[in-house]
Symmetry: C2
Subunit: 259 residues, 2 copies
């Protein structure tokens, strides 16, 4: 495997840092190639702005169109081009981050906002009245697999099906489906550590063992069975799921998972 680890935590001795390092040593120890994008160490610029598109930034700025023109011309800034190249190099992508306010830290959202440009991650393929692009199962990053490795301060019950925060699979759906599956990446079930606010050194060996197990079984883990956009499950052009495809009683985000 060729694994890219995108890592976002400001403290180099944090649990997130430790899990990132364990991923590197475990995967390299098993003979895989690993590259790391340590966003804090890189001083990653989180904010989309006209300067990202050089001479292709129009006035007024049009983020989608201008990012696509800069991408087409190979004129995106070097930091963004390097990340796009790493994504194309990788067959597996691990995102290591703490859940802050039920989502990614801003530095990681800014990695998505800047790296996932028009014509690279969206605006790919025919857009017409009969087709709305190659996405959700197709796209530039098809053939790759991704895994979120996430730490959550609160206990697991708060993220359970009836938990006050909402189910973890629904909280992560906008990332799993909206960000990763959109440009074609298959998404593996996440590795989530709960209760990390109260975790002690005594808890770490068990955590490390569970993480190593997930890392060493990446190649054989079944991805989440998201429905593909362009293979008959959705009405065109509304992109509403056709009636009757889902198990009785299923609603919401779960509709977009098969079976």
């Amino acid at each position: 495997m060729k694994t890219l680890i995108v890592y976002a935590h400001p403290e180099p001795t944090s649990l997130n840092a430790t899990l990132k390092e364990l991923a590197v040593t475990t995967l390299e120890g098993a003979g895989h190639e690993v590259r790391v994008s340590d966003l804090y160490a890189m001083g990653w610029k989180a904010v989309v702005e006209a300067a990202d598109y050089g001479p292709h930034a129009s006035s007024p700025l049009k983020v989608a169109r201008d990012s696509g023109r800069a991408f087409d011309a190979g004129a995106l800034t070097p930091d963004v081009r390097a990340e796009q190249e790493k994504l194309l190099w990788a067959d597996t992508i691990i995102f290591q981050f703490p859940l802050w306010w039920y989502s990614m830290p801003a530095i990681l959202k800014g990695w998505v906002d800047r790296v996932f440009t028009f014509h690279f991650a969206y605006g790919v393929g025919e857009h017409s009245d009969t087709k709305y692009g190659e996405r959700f199962g197709e796209g530039t990053l098809a053939g790759r697999r991704a895994l979120l490795s996430v730490t959550a301060g609160g206990p697991q019950s708060h993220y359970s099906s009836r938990g006050i925060n909402g189910p973890i699979e629904d909280l992560l759906f906008p990332i799993h489906h909206g960000i990763l599956y959109y440009p074609g990446i298959e998404v593996l079930p996440p590795f989530v550590l709960y209760g990390t606010d109260r975790m002690t050194d005594q808890d770490y060996p068990e955590v490390a063992k569970a993480w190593e197990h997930r890392l060493l079984s990446l190649a054989t883990t079944e991805p989440i069975a998201f429905r593909r956009q362009n293979f008959g499950d959705y009405e065109i052009p509304s992109l509403r799921l056709k009636e009757g495809l889902e198990p009785a009683g299923r609603t919401g985000f779960g509709l977009h998972v098969r079976g």
Copy 2:
């Protein structure tokens, strides 16, 4: 009303900018006080780092604890203190932003990550085996109301109950419930414009009319009926919703809305 508008778009002539300006003139015209946090114009720093907490940043950095110590000491950076003061001043908060990758632009997520510190927005009230803080209906920002005004490139059907993106109310739940309701803010139904990728100048008068209507009826709009954490609906300490409270067949995020 005292309204804070938190606005996040890099282009000063964008639709988002126009909607922000219309909110200012409409509310001021109706005799209300308005303040604007224009995150791009302010050069808002999106990324949480040790420097945010000055002498209260420990080594190793502990984001929650250190942000709380800096907050308690009045030692947060001036940019963050100013935003906290605006939130305390306001009775109404409008967030104006484009939906990028099904969530906020990174600059706005970084506003949340940095401004919503420990002891200000979380870690408020007793945390014990019988109570897990004052949150979800209580907290520092109780008594305030918020509204998301969001532009989405894709058509409305893609965000409908069976739409491929998932229902808009579920996509926004981590913001509505996880970010705004958590520190006590009541959340009004969002103002969402769809299909903005294909919107023309001819479409704008109708949009403006709908937005003005929402703005002038803010005070009488019913908030989303999220369930309060500490008033009997949840098991303690699991914070699972008690059985039987929801309408038959309701699951997922919808469980946390009454009725």
